[in-house]
């Protein structure tokens, strides 16, 4: 680690995903030039986020409380669980405001070459959750992993595992983008859109 404070900060920032050397240095310089109040708030936020966030004991999302606000919200529909790969996917669905059920965060997808197998994902907590809820409560699991090979494989694995428990497992639709034009869609997307068509 460099002794020079600026280079040190820059090296630390450069370890974050998606940040190259140039961006790291630019961010470090921006922090140097910022007003002291902002810098204090930033460093405090960095400390707090790490010390207080934990995994929700129910859905494995990140939360400052043992049980997150969604899992403790009695107004949400407990019969449907939407399974996502990462906390940011949950946030995207939540922002849309169209889903009022509960979530489950896997913290990854199956990736054989990346060394990510079923035991590396939060699948056991999901099974425990379904078993604990009994047959009456959770009726459907919506798997909302990305429509790529790893996301599909993860969804398929979950359906093989959970289908026999009597819970309906469904997959979010994929295909032609809404507002897009059909003639510009690529072959794979069209293929998928036709395969996953639904009856009107």
């Amino acid at each position: 680690m460099p002794a020079d404070p600026l280079q040190r900060l820059s090296a630390l920032l450069g370890r974050l995903p998606g940040i190259g050397d140039k961006t790291a240095l630019r961010l470090a310089l921006a922090i140097v030039k910022s007003d002291p109040e902002y810098v204090r708030a930033l460093s405090e936020a960095l400390g707090t986020v790490h010390n207080t966030l934990q995994l929700c004991t129910q859905c494995c999302d990140l939360t400052p409380e043992p049980v997150c606000e969604r899992c403790s919200d009695a107004k949400r529909d407990g019969s449907v669980i939407c399974v996502v790969a990462q906390p940011q996917d949950r946030m995207a669905i939540e922002r849309s405001g169209v889903f009022r059920g509960l979530y489950h965060v896997l913290h990854g997808v199956l990736d054989p070459l990346g060394g990510i197998g079923p035991s590396d994902l939060k699948i056991e907590p999901l099974l425990r959750r379904l078993e604990a809820s009994g047959e009456t409560q959770v009726e459907e699991l919506i798997v909302a992993t990305s429509p790529n090979v790893e996301g599909d494989a993860t969804a398929l694995y979950l359906s093989k595992l959970i289908g026999p428990l009597g819970v309906k497992v469904s997959r979010i639709a994929s295909g032609v983008a809404v507002g897009g034009e059909l003639e510009y869609a690529d072959v794979t997307t069209l293929h998928r859109a036709l395969e996953d068509r639904r009856r009107l």
Partner: protein, 262 residues
């Protein structure tokens, strides 16, 4: 600046920066190359269908000068690979083919037969029910392209042709052994060796696959063990795709023919 259009199989792709991918390709004329695919995680156009391991198609690559890193400018799949995640057995098999190639092939040295062997195995696995016989043929042909194919029909010490119902085999010594040189070595059914010989030949893969698939479970297991005994000492690390396959099996998530899956 040089640009090339080449047939290619994606061996592995991993995130690079915010939106890029590092993609390892096997090609017939450039060998195994590492490429940077700019914006691959956003671009639906240049990389339609994504770049999963096992994607088989035509790559457009370029580089500024000799020795510089390749850029992957576009990739057009010729086989339907995006449905790979909809069959876990196929998914695991294709990952195994790609990982085995990636681990065993170190040099960027071009080898058209090696590429043909991989393209054939990946293409066949994407097209039809995944079969262990397709894995076996590929493993043997990959070993052959690396100069590691063991002797299968003659003594690897004295060159004497081997013939008996059971033949001594030692991967450490170089393959099959005659009665004199093979004293004390474990024996392999002659039928297993005959299947191995037929599988690694260039011609008529269909009948070799069919014959290997129709053999008894014991013969198929012996074939798997024979090939693995040659492959395993060459691996620099355990294969993650095999650990993955093993992790899926107990739950019944993959169809694994007892004993002869990779």
């Amino acid at each position: 600046m040089s640009q090339a259009r080449t047939p290619a199989v994606v061996l592995q792709a991993s995130p690079l920066g915010e939106a890029d991918l590092m993609v390892v390709l096997l090609t017939p004329d450039l060998g195994k190359i590492r490429t940077a695919a700019k914006n691959a995680r956003n671009s639906k156009r240049r990389f339609a269908g994504g770049l999963p391991a096992g994607a088989l198609g035509e790559a457009t690559v370029s580089r500024r000068r000799e020795g510089a890193m390749w850029r992957l400018d576009a990739f057009r799949s010729v086989a339907e690979v995006s449905g790979l995640g909809r069959d876990l057995t196929r998914f695991a098999y294709v990952n195994y083919l790609c990982e085995l190639t990636d681990v065993l092939v170190v040099e960027p040295e071009p080898e058209a037969r090696r590429f043909a062997a991989l393209a054939e195995a990946v293409g066949e696995t994407l097209r039809s029910t995944p079969r262990p016989a397709v894995m076996r043929r590929f493993e043997l042909r990959l070993l052959d392209s690396l100069g590691l194919l063991p002797a299968l029909d003659h003594c690897c010490v004295c060159g004497e042709p081997t013939s008996a119902s059971e033949i001594a085999f030692s991967s450490g010594r170089g393959g099959t052994l005659c009665v004199v040189h093979g004293a004390g070595s474990p024996r392999v059914p002659a039928q297993t060796l005959a299947l191995a010989i037929a599988l690694q030949r260039d011609d008529d893969p269909e009948s070799a696959w069919d014959a290997a698939s129709a053999a008894s479970p014991a013969v198929r297991r012996a074939l798997r063990d024979l090939v693995q005994s040659v492959v395993r000492p060459q691996l620099r690390r355990p294969l993650r795709s095999l650990e993955f396959l093993a992790a899926l099996t107990p739950r019944g998530a993959v169809n694994r023919t007892p004993g002869d899956a990779p």
